[in-house]
Symmetry: C2
Subunit: 347 residues, 2 copies
Amino acid sequence: MQNLTLEDVAERAGVSRSTVSRVINDQPNVSEGVRDRVWKVINETGYQPNVAARSLASQRSYMIGLVLPHSVSYLFTDPYIPHLIQGVAQSCNQSDYTLGLFHASSKEDEKKMYPRVSRAGLLDGVILQAGHHGDPLMDRMIDSDLPLVFVGRPFQDENVSYVDIDNYDGAYNAVSHLIKLGYRRIATIAGTELSTVGIDRKQGYIEALRDNDLTVDEDWVVEGDFTEMGGYQAMEALLPNRPQAVFAASDIMAIGAIRAIRNAGLEIPDDVAIVGFDDLPVANMSNIALTTIRQPISRLGSTAVEMLIEMIHNGSKLHNRIILSTELIVRDSCGANQELKYEAKEE
Amino acid sequence: MQNLTLEDVAERAGVSRSTVSRVINDQPNVSEGVRDRVWKVINETGYQPNVAARSLASQRSYMIGLVLPHSVSYLFTDPYIPHLIQGVAQSCNQSDYTLGLFHASSKEDEKKMYPRVSRAGLLDGVILQAGHHGDPLMDRMIDSDLPLVFVGRPFQDENVSYVDIDNYDGAYNAVSHLIKLGYRRIATIAGTELSTVGIDRKQGYIEALRDNDLTVDEDWVVEGDFTEMGGYQAMEALLPNRPQAVFAASDIMAIGAIRAIRNAGLEIPDDVAIVGFDDLPVANMSNIALTTIRQPISRLGSTAVEMLIEMIHNGSKLHNRIILSTELIVRDSCGANQELKYEAKEE
DNA sequence: GTGAAAGCGCTAACAG
DNA sequence: CTGTTAGCGCTTTCAC
């Protein structure tokens, strides 16, 4: 029943194998009558073309890979990877591509990753989550001749295609929002410089201050490492400088910072205002509703698939980049919803 | 360079195609010398067997599918699915199987799911996350002739293989723990009866009470729907009955319940003790550290892969079931860490 | 518009 | 131990 071949269908429909193939692949040069007759047989028999055979003959697998290097494993702990996967899966469903998932669970796994992903005849293209600086998998993938789209800006961003969140702009808006609210002594808990995410968000902070004629004080920039603990410690380091507001480069770090602020007996946003980045669900669930930057992660994934499929079809070696914009979500932690303590800057 | 075929390697090594095939597949009947010579050529040339061709000839794709029906989409919002995926991916890496991910993003997607998953020549077997009662995908998958392993006990659990958490036992232990602490008036916020998870955990609650000669009062069993809001409302309904303790069938519902308890001006665990289930990270991050049941989700995934691969190899139609045990994590919300208000039951 | 024929690159009997 | 020979089920020229 499942073991029907093109040949069988052809026989039952009284045509040749090639004709059935044309019908299935929706190709021209088949008369209406024959087409209908063949479809009838196909539907009646429940015939399904064999993927392996098709793949071998056409040199196309209609399968793409989503590759997650080990250096981004920590992203499994927040909703980033799940949302990304949902976006990618949805887009694959729409385009009728099969999704292969490659996750390096350990450093050792990662070594075998490239051979597995690049196996001849397996994938038509790959989506690679950009990892930390120096991640070996990235360079190898770039050098392969498979169509490739990065999710997130890779360090080496020349001659590659990628989709990314506008981290710079998001941070810029977050800090500008604080400035408009009247805060002047604005610190940041930056992410690690090992990722472009950390770099871009920090740059947004810096430029926002500059564009508003505020000086960028090195004492107000402390690096967290995108963890709750990192945020806590960074905030502890920041507190003696008495910042009026702080921009945390991730919600998780913001939550750590909030803990530190409260431990010091200070109130949010009255004593210190805070804005995060990511808009995790927890941002709205913690004791103080967190003002933050929302990013379209699922769309990041679906866009990557669309770019990749276009590359596969056009065989284009052109390198595109798409930057998705973010959205400022104003809640309570920035102090916008209360009386201003400081003189607001008028536009 | 990538386009080498077996034939090419054979020629360079001065042997026949079959010999190279034997070497690659680690089959016997090849002399040491020849074997070495062939490996040398393979390594030098970077030859990779073509997956599609191998698949077609051997009728094996060395790829398995992880299928997530739409009815479990909500599990993406907590760490369940990510952990499951990690476990599955890790096990696939070890066995050198490719992992195909099939996630139905919508009801419409779900209709096209079965044809996509069951395409001839695509998968050697599938792992299916058990969904709600009546999920159409489950029945169709069971009827297909693909090797199949469920993650989570399906409703129709005859003649199928599955791996599951010991939900019954976990709930039983959670409630027994409360009983040992001296509580007598113990309520439960049960999950939905649409899932076996909800059913099994509720049953564990009931049996624990019975085994300790406590009556099961219908007023003490309120159904949440595994959401924070559901937990909140269930607790509101429960409060008038003045329970001393409550077992929530999930941490998310426990968090909702905690909110309701506090809204009523009551203290945890002094006025009401609470135990959850799942051990989400948030269980340890909220204001009151939640006593809960930890479950090995990642191992659930890797075990499923192991079972499936065994079925594929042995072609066995035997149906196995593996139940993984849980662990009681005692924190503050159950009151174990403070003076007991009620007379503790001695063993 | 349709069919015949030649592969796609590999595995797996079957001889030797 | 090794090579020869058929396929696996489909796509894709190329004739007609």
